[in-house]
Amino acid sequence: MKNLSKYIIVWSACALVWLLGSPPALGDTLKVCRTCEHHSVKEAVRKAKAGDVVLVDGGLYLESGIEITQPISLIGRNNPVIDGRNTGQIITIKSSNVKVEGFTVQNVAVSYMRDDAAIRVADLENIQILNNTVLNTYFGIYLQNTDNSVVKGNVVRGESADKIESSLGNAIHVWRSDNVEVSDNTAEGHRDGIYFEFVTNSRVHDNLSEGNNRYGLHFMFSDGNVYTRNVFRSNGAGVAVMYTRNIRMEHNTFEDNWGAASYGLLLKDISQSAILNNTFRRNTTGIYMESSSQLDITSNDFDRNGWAIRLLSSCIQDTFRLNNFTGNSFDVSTNGNPTMNLFENNYWDKYSGYDLDKDRTGDVPYRPVSLYSMLVERVPPSVMFMRSFMVDLMDSIERVLPSFIPESLVDNRPSMKKIDHDSDRKLVQNLR
């Protein structure tokens, strides 16, 4: 028995050594630079065999149509620039287990038929795309049916200034993949910053998505993903996510999404998900919810939004707890009478109740939906009468004797003091 276990240990140790030591021993290194054996990335990549490393030194390479057909690592040193000069897709990965790192890839023209991208992957797995800069391209990084992959530390920057939405591609586009990690990327100036469709069990964290023409983050049919510590700022229409179950969104920031059809976070047909510890600041609408059910919306900050939450009557069984509502024009608005939603222990800066028993929750229920917000929902032009004395009077009377505002939308235990989320935010960051 003892012998057997010894054998196992020895063998597994040997296997480990072989595993760790083998890949570098297997592959050669092909160098690409002006004075090296290879002058062109394309040529070096074509000659590389499985397990090789293609090392590209700094400089400008005017190339496109680089096809990686072997499991190699394509690594840039001293920031080599590959300029496609608008002649088509630049790097196409056609083999699993490929790594592309440290390049600046630029200039891909709009192509409606082929959806050209700077770096494109299709029907593979184990791809790593790390620390690249992608400038002025149609699509940036395009993953298609590619499982177990990593897109990390990239900067994808487009030039959307004079373009319309239909002539822009997405910065990071992932379609039908499982277990993908998208982290520490910057996406700006494209149509959508991060686009997911049929992507499951993936992690999106620490990304910055800013100034995109349409959505900062856009996903559909992408169950089981986790979004943490991302910042979505000043995107044309904010963030819109649809038809998805079982997601977590934590510690994200949604801010400065202003405009007629702009939302901090638009939820359509999202269910059984958690939205925790996020910050919604200066958006036209903080969260817009339609047909969304069983959501846990806890410990978020809603600050200076037009509407903090627009809860349409098609939403059921959503829970709003321990959120801070400060400086919003309207805290909650609705178009009908949503049922079975729970508001509890939130802090509302408009709350004017008292706390006689000193349990830090108000003794009088707070009704976050004001009569005027319902009027504005029904007749948008009445927004012109905001802060009119008549409106304030109407709202005050309605709060005392509610007859029009939905009976069920009420916080029976509003918090008296602003809830401090910052301390546990730091704690969570430390824990990770």
Partner: protein
């Protein structure tokens, strides 16, 4: 004319009501700016109070002043001075003193705590509202000789513009909610100087930019120089129409 304005001004300052009004506004503004935290919040609260109190005080003060100086006016009418000149001098005297009070009481704190375009709009709106409501007060005063009736009409006018009008318009908007009302609402706003002033200030504060499609529409209208110009022109009309109507009534009337 200048001489009469001088006498009217002197008379008003001596009564000390304007001084009290200045102090009241000053206290209110400084208090609100210190309470609110951010200057934007202070401006918002100030806007609400300015649009409620300034018209009320202007209209009540101007009406009482008009009736109180009836004898003085009768004396002047017996002199070789044109009636419209007497009337306009009275108007300028009251409007200028109240505007000066407003400038001191609200303009200076705004300049100190929240300088910028929004503050400027607030002060301009307040000034216009003062001129408009003094004109309305004079209109109410020339309609009837009876002081109690005159003050009643003046109060009713204030009540209408500050409260009832918004209620009526909201009712109209609610009843016709199925129709596109964007421009109709704009027109209805122009029919009330208080609303017009409020909208102009609000659309220049951050709040306004967030109010969805309609907010964006109005922002694009009021945000342009053209829109602001039109709005101030409408406010000017609101001064001129009651003023010229009441002057006409005053010159033709048997005193």
């Amino acid at each position: 004319m200048n001489k009469i304005i001088k006498y009217v001004l002197y008379d008003i300052v001596r009564s000390k009501i304007v001084v009290a009004y200045t102090l009241f506004l000053l206290l209110l503004s400084i208090g609100l700016f210190n309470l609110g935290g951010s200057p934007d919040k202070g401006l918002l609260s100030l806007l609400n109070l300015v649009l409620l109190t300034v018209p009320l005080i202007s209209i009540v003060f101007a009406t009482t002043h008009f009736y109180n100086s009836y004898e003085f006016m009768e004396l002047l009418v017996s002199q070789p001075i044109r009636r419209s000149r007497i009337f306009l001098s009275e108007y300028w005297g009251v409007a200028l003193s109240l505007s000066a009070a407003f400038l001191l009481g609200v303009g200076v704190p705004v300049l100190l705590f929240a300088p910028g375009a929004t503050g400027l709009y607030l002060v301009l709106t307040g000034l216009f509202v003062t001129f408009i409501f003094v004109a309305l007060a004079f209109l109410a005063s020339v309609i009837t000789r009876d002081k109690a009736k005159g003050i009643g009409i003046a109060l009713l006018l204030w009540f209408y513009f500050a409260l009832i009008y918004d209620g009526i318009v909201l009712l109209i908007l609610y009843s016709f909610g199925d129709y596109p009302l964007e421009y109709a609402t704009l027109a209805l706003t122009a029919l009330n100087p208080v609303d017009l002033g409020r909208v102009m200030v609000l659309l220049n504060l951050d709040v306004s930019a967030m109010m969805g499609y309609t907010g964006a529409l109005y922002k694009s209208i009021f945000g342009s120089a053209w829109g602001v110009g039109i709005a101030f022109l409408v406010l000017l009309l609101w001064v001129l129409v009651p003023l010229l109507t009441s002057r006409r009534a005053f010159t033709r009337r048997d005193l």
